[in-house]
Amino acid sequence: MTTVETFPTLAEAARAMGSGAAFFGGGTVLMRDVNAGDGPQRLVRSADPALTEIRAQGETVRLGAGVTMARILAERDLAFLHPVARQIGGPQVRNMGTLGGNLFAPHPYGDFAVALIALGARAVLAGQGGARPVEELMRERARPPLVAAIEIPRPRSGREFGFLKVSRVKPKGVSVLSVAAFLPAEGGRIRGARVAWGAMGPAPMRGQGAERALEGGELDAATIARAAAQAAEGLDPPTDALASAWYRKEVAGVHLRRLLERMERG
């Protein structure tokens, strides 16, 4: 049996966590288990307005963990995140699903986290100072910490950041895979390449093979071909009803190439 506890502030909610509790955001992941009679013992909610706060100006944007995909899409200053948010779920899920929840949504969900990892986003945890890389939190998905907000560095141009999600059913379908690339350039050369994959491992993860191939190069046909050839290196995709691990590894390079070519065209 699941009980529901609602707290006015996130700090109070954080104190109530533990002992069979799960934090309830948009409900799109947790409520399925509750409906199946397999939910957590306690659902902890919070009506804290900080959870839905958006600071969209400046070099680093800060979004409350309770901000929905639909809210991101409604915010003009967050245009760089729109191609990602648009690919999450259908209209209903985008009205419900939150940024914080997407971080810990199990495979094959969690495509927004893929983009956040590529962008080098950091998570502010409830009741803790500072922020931790989203990438690091992926290792704690079994016991997720309570995230208050996400800080996301804004790409300097549209060409620096790209996201691609591959699904069999359009316009709404879960990921065969998703891939995001953040390629800041200095003097025409890529410095600090970050590539992240979804549905290519137990959790969203960095693609070090592709990153190595891109680092220091120019975003041209030769670099793109090298990155595509090394795309699947170090990835450990699952086999599920959507695709086999073999297929995912085979097509990873194809889709990375398409994404990079799109970014090259700008």
């Binding site: 049996m1 409900g27 199946a36 779920g89 259908g90 209903q92 009205n95």
Partner: protein, 158 residues
């Protein structure tokens, strides 16, 4: 087991009922409030048959906590008609044979209503996108898309 009183607006009318612990909004609307228009399809957020509008936006009522509807405006397909006069979307669905078994229809109707409320003259692609969270296993979607296009056209003329 503790029951929680939930006061909300259902199709423009103040409404109140008791929600059970962890009860979803779909079950609450059907069993506690008595509005049978939203349907239980999958209980997993995959089919959209349970779609209702909360403050004008489509939500999956099966994945919404009943108590989270407190103070909100909930709209369902049973609020579309005005007395015996059907909503233009309902008329268009009839004209276009956009319902066969009818199980997805209430969800389709409210998703379409939410679209037309914020975008009165949608393109075909915008309709497809707006209905992408609602599955239909009978019609092949074409008659539904045509019906929404028709309803949007009428609205523009009206």
């Amino acid at each position: 087991m503790a029951k929680k009183p939930v006061t909300f607006t259902l199709n423009g009318r103040e409404s109140a009922a008791f929600a059970e612990e962890g009860q979803n909004l779909l079950d609450f609307l059907r069993r506690s409030v008595g509005d049978l228009s939203p349907k239980y399809g999958c209980g997993q957020g995959g089919c959209g048959a349970c779609t209702v509008l909360i403050d004008g936006e489509p939500h999956l009522s099966c994945l919404t906590l009943a108590e989270a509807a407190a103070g909100r405006k909930v709209e369902t397909a049973s609020g579309l008609a005005t007395g015996p006069v059907l909503h233009r979307l309902q008329e268009a669905f009839m004209e276009r044979f956009a319902a066969q078994c009818g199980f997805c229809t209430p969800g389709m109707l409210v998703s379409a209503k939410a679209l037309l409320d914020c975008n009165p003259r949608p393109t075909r692609d915008e309709i497809v996108e707006a209905l992408s969270g609602n599955l239909c296993r009978c019609t092949g979607y074409e008659p539904i898309i045509e019906a929404v296009l028709d309803a949007a056209g009428e609205r523009a003329r009206a």
